[in-house]
Amino acid sequence: MSIEAKGIVKRFGSFVALDDVDLSVPSGQLTALLGPSGGGKSTLLRIIGGLESPDAGSVLIDGVESTGVPAQRRNVGFVFQHYAAFKHLSVYRNVSFGLEIRKRPKDEIRRRVHELLELVHLEQFGQRLPSELSGGQRQRMALARALAVEPKVLLLDEPFGALDVKVRKELRDWLRRLHDEMHVTTLFVTHDQEEALEVSDQLVVINAGRIEQVGTPDELYDRPANRFVMEFLGPVTTLNGAAVRPHDIELLDTPNDAAVPGEVVRLTRVGFEVRVEVRAAGADTWVQITRGQAEALALAVGSRVWLRAAPHAGAWTLPDYGRADIGEDGLRGAGTAEPGGPGAGADEGGRSRIGAGPAS
């Protein structure tokens, strides 16, 4: 069951939270809405769920016009960042809430709640109060509660945002597996790019009330439409006036015509990877390589090195205009990668408008 949002505009006073946003979530997929806080992603999710109403635009759920339908009649599942557990009700009664509201027969409710508690591994905890559960357990309960009413779509607002790193990772894997079993169309909001890249089928990057780019995680990581998407999804450095991922730079220990000469100024080892900071042609850049590569090159502070964008597929560079003012011309792929590669480039780039003024 698909979700379609067209021309959504939402203002809070003079602040424009969403500025003419179109979003299409295909049926059965797990789509992530990724962006910095205050970028409008939660607002968009709440508009789809009916918890906010848009100033303009329309929402279609499963092809049915839903813009004016109140939240209680949309039949969507919603999971909140801070669980929104009904504190005075047991885990069982939390999960059965939606079914009780729908006046389903008692034994059907019992069967369904037990099924769901088993699904979220809480079958032992039915009689506990939410306050007696850990954060991860509470969020699983909230998910079971949302799924109990067999929603058309499942909406999750920073579902793992309040959990610690270890539990986040567990729940993330678990959500992915759950989705593969249930195939309910899911839209989830996150500001964690790793989470979005790992879990989602489709990724929507949203910033300052506008959608920057839509695509699969690989498309967005490898061929970002603009500097914002590139920086938000992973590390970025500059080489020869172009933005490039630090693991897409090749380090050579012999002179090469196509490479930029430089000098190693600092080596930092972080676990299995080594960050090599290089002063190249007057500008600083950094390169991410493995420990093995660093040892093979016998790198030390002061070593002469030559840098070039890695020739392998997937490397993508953007002209570097600095962070603040990237004009429309700066949004298309350039440098060593094939210009206008699939899923990126002109199409999405033309929609994005970071920085009002022309590139200078």
Partner: protein, 277 residues
């Protein structure tokens, strides 16, 4: 620098000092006067107590207090919940003003409240009073005016107990219930009411105590009539007996105190020992 032992001793001494001061404060201001009333009641014996509280005038006074305080508590509970929801769940121009007005009855003297009500509803020169009087509906020197006055003075109690709880809990739970299909009434019944239950109960008990004990405003609007068409409530009766040096003041006062104490004890007994997080 003082040695740790001396510091500890000082701390212990100051702790005992504080405790003594707090006990003395409550004892002198609250317990001693109430104790004296209880003592005098006991000293005058059981039959004096029975005579005082069972006289026709006392019975009627208790009945009036019950009607007036009961009505005021019901009104303040219903509107208190409404105003608290309005203050915490909606943003509208004049919200802060409303919040200030809710606190106003705390600072206005009850006598002034009574006077103001007479000026508005008085049967001869009140703003609305004349019309109501001509239509055969009496407000001042009658039960409706006494309910108005009592409602006015006890107005902030329920609101002020509920508002912090509603603010703390936020709207997440209500929104979750809404997405699960609950109508406004179902959300209120199943989520909001259980959430504010203890605060509401505490506010109601405070309102009961305040409404039963109200004296000044009721005295002004009721006319303090005894005999036929009595508008004299229990507190007014106590006042009359004290003024006229007649027996019965202590006994009626003890009944009023007992009701208030009982209400507070009941709530502290049924309130869960551990505050639910």
């Amino acid at each position: 620098m003082a040695s740790p032992g001396v510091a500890l001793g000082t701390r212990r001494r100051s702790r005992y000092g504080l405790r003594t001061a707090a006990l003395a404060y409550v004892g002198v201001i609250v317990l001693l006067p109430l104790g004296v009333i209880l003592w005098r009641t006991i000293r005058q014996g059981g039959s004096a107590f029975w005579d005082a509280v069972s006289s026709a005038q006392a019975q009627e006074a208790f009945r009036l207090t019950g009607i007036v305080a009961g009505s005021a508590v019901v009104i303040n509970t219903v509107f208190g919940i409404g105003v608290a929801l309005l203050l915490t769940r909606y943003r509208f121009p004049g919200r802060r003003m409303l919040s200030l007005f809710v606190d106003l009855p705390m600072s206005v003297s009850p006598i002034v409240v009574g006077l103001a009500l007479v000026l508005v509803y008085g049967p001869y020169n009140g703003w609305f009073g004349k019309g109501l009087h001509n239509a055969g509906f009496e407000v001042i020197y009658a039960v409706p005016g006494m309910i108005l006055a009592t409602t006015f003075v006890a107005l902030p109690l329920v609101v002020r107990e509920i508002v912090p709880v509603l603010e703390d809990e936020g709207i997440d739970q209500e929104q979750a219930a809404r997405v699960l299909g609950a109508s406004a009434w179902q959300r209120f019944r199943r989520i909001t009411l259980p959430t504010i239950k203890w605060a509401l109960m505490y506010g109601v008990v405070l309102s009961i105590a305040r409404s039963i004990g109200e004296f000044g405003a009721v005295k002004v609007v009721s006319g303090n009539i005894s005999g036929s068409g009595q508008t004299q409530t229990a507190t007014l009766l106590v006042d009359e007996r004290v003024e006229q040096l007649e027996p019965g003041a202590y006994q009626v006062a003890v009944v009023l105190i007992a009701i208030a104490v009982l209400a507070i004890v009941i709530v502290s007994l049924i309130r869960p020992k551990e505050e639910a997080p």
